[in-house]
Symmetry: C2
Subunit: 89 residues, 2 copies
């Protein structure tokens, strides 16, 4: 959970996840959507990948990134336990 919260604690990274909901994109396409250098975006992508929020596969020169939302289940459940406990009062 630590890596997951860490990865999500940045507005640029959350925006990357949001954009990828529309469909997969290459590293370059993602970088072009931000006013940040490509190396910096590359680093953000790496952090998201380490948290397993993204998967990547190379296709020729391009590296395509796609969402992996299965890892969000743990966090969602963590939050929901707070809300469900609410009703027990």
């Amino acid at each position: 959970m630590n890596k997951l919260f860490k990865a999500l604690n940045d507005n640029t990274r959350r925006e990357i996840l949001d954009k990828l909901r529309e469909g997969d994109m290459t590293a370059g396409e993602i970088a072009d959507m931000f006013d940040i250098s490509k190396p910096s975006i590359s680093h953000h992508l790496d952090i998201l990948k380490q948290a397993e929020l993204l998967e990547s596969h190379r296709n020729g020169q391009f590296i395509h990134y796609s969402l992996n939302t299965t890892v969000m289940d743990d966090i969602i459940n963590w939050f929901l336990t707070f809300k469900s406990q609410e009703n027990e009062k």
Copy 2:
């Protein structure tokens, strides 16, 4: 959302939230559960309060802290939009 993710991006703070699910506690009681100085815990409590995850009220010398989970709704919904989109494929 930024303050919220920031507040949640720390293991000590997440543990504080977990402990408070059992019931309200004073700042001192919370601090005693960790191997961290009282001023540091006080600072963590402040960050959680700024994110509106906690509320506090003074009762004599003591300050009692309690959970406020309503602010979690936004985050939960943010996550759920990822999961619900999953089914549209």
